[in-house]
């Protein structure tokens, strides 16, 4: 079965640094998402992306965050100036359509901000 791929699996960075988390969604999927899970807390929606633009974003997704699909395969999440509270597991997901269907999740990137 095709899978969503995320790199790196672990990322350690200093507070204030920029990080880019990378994802390769399933090739025929059109909708892409980022979620995050702070240790011990719920999985939280960050953003959904379709047709090269954000279709919905949460309150968490402030100006420090951005997403991009720089080519036909990658989907990236950039955090411009990381804060300690950005430490979390970040999950990328994709789906064929956005209409209440199955999301395919990547295995996650564990981001640690020191």
């Amino acid at each position: 079965e095709p899978e969503v791929t995320q790199t790196p699996s672990h990322q350690v960075t200093q507070m204030g640094q920029e990080v880019i988390l990378r994802c390769v969604p399933i090739s025929n999927h059109l909708y892409f998402y980022w979620y995050r899970q702070i240790l011990g807390q719920k999985v939280e929606f960050l953003v959904s992306f379709y047709n090269n633009e954000i279709s919905e974003k949460s309150e968490i997704f402030d100006d420090q965050f951005s997403v991009e699909r720089p080519d036909g395969s990658n989907f990236t999440l950039k955090i411009r100036s990381t804060k300690l509270e950005d430490s979390a597991m970040y999950f990328c997901a994709s789906s064929v359509t956005g209409e209440n269907e199955k999301l395919f999740f990547g295995s996650g990137t564990q981001l640690s901000v020191l």
Binding site: E3, V4, Y31, Y33, Y35, Q41, K42, V43, E44, F45, S48, Y50, S55, E56, S58, F91, A93, S95, G98, E99, N100, E101, K102, L103, F104, F105, G106, S107, G108
Partner: protein, 109 residues
């Protein structure tokens, strides 16, 4: 506001025992409800969705709109069912899922 509540952080049962993982939601409209599962060292994956009315790996879940619940059930637990289970709802067509806190199911031999 939309919310999903899973009251149990940990549910521990013996193999062969019935399992019920509780999920309650708050949403005034008609949401779509899902159960996702995460086995040890694996990715989150869909277990079942209420509109499919299917049984996956012996698990079923019925949407009870009166009680705003979507409890996950299995009559006889197996050791390989040990995992983290997340209840989630969506109400938009943007794929946004609202997750519960998750329940760790531990099935003892």
């Amino acid at each position: 506001a939309q919310r999903v509540t899973q009251p149990e952080k940990l549910l521990s049962v013996f193999k062969g025992a019935p399992v019920e993982l509780k999920c309650n939601y708050s949403y005034s409209g008609s949401p779509e409800l899902f159960w996702y599962v995460q086995y040890s060292r694996q990715r989150l994956q869909l277990l079942l969705r209420h509109i499919s009315r299917e049984s996956i790996k012996g698990f079923t879940a019925d949407l009870n709109k009166g009680e705003t619940s979507f409890h996950l059930k299995k009559p006889f637990a197996q050791e390989e069912d040990s995992a983290m289970y997340y209840c989630a709802l969506t109400y938009s067509n943007t794929g946004k899922l609202i997750f519960g806190q998750g329940t760790t199911l531990q099935v003892k031999p």
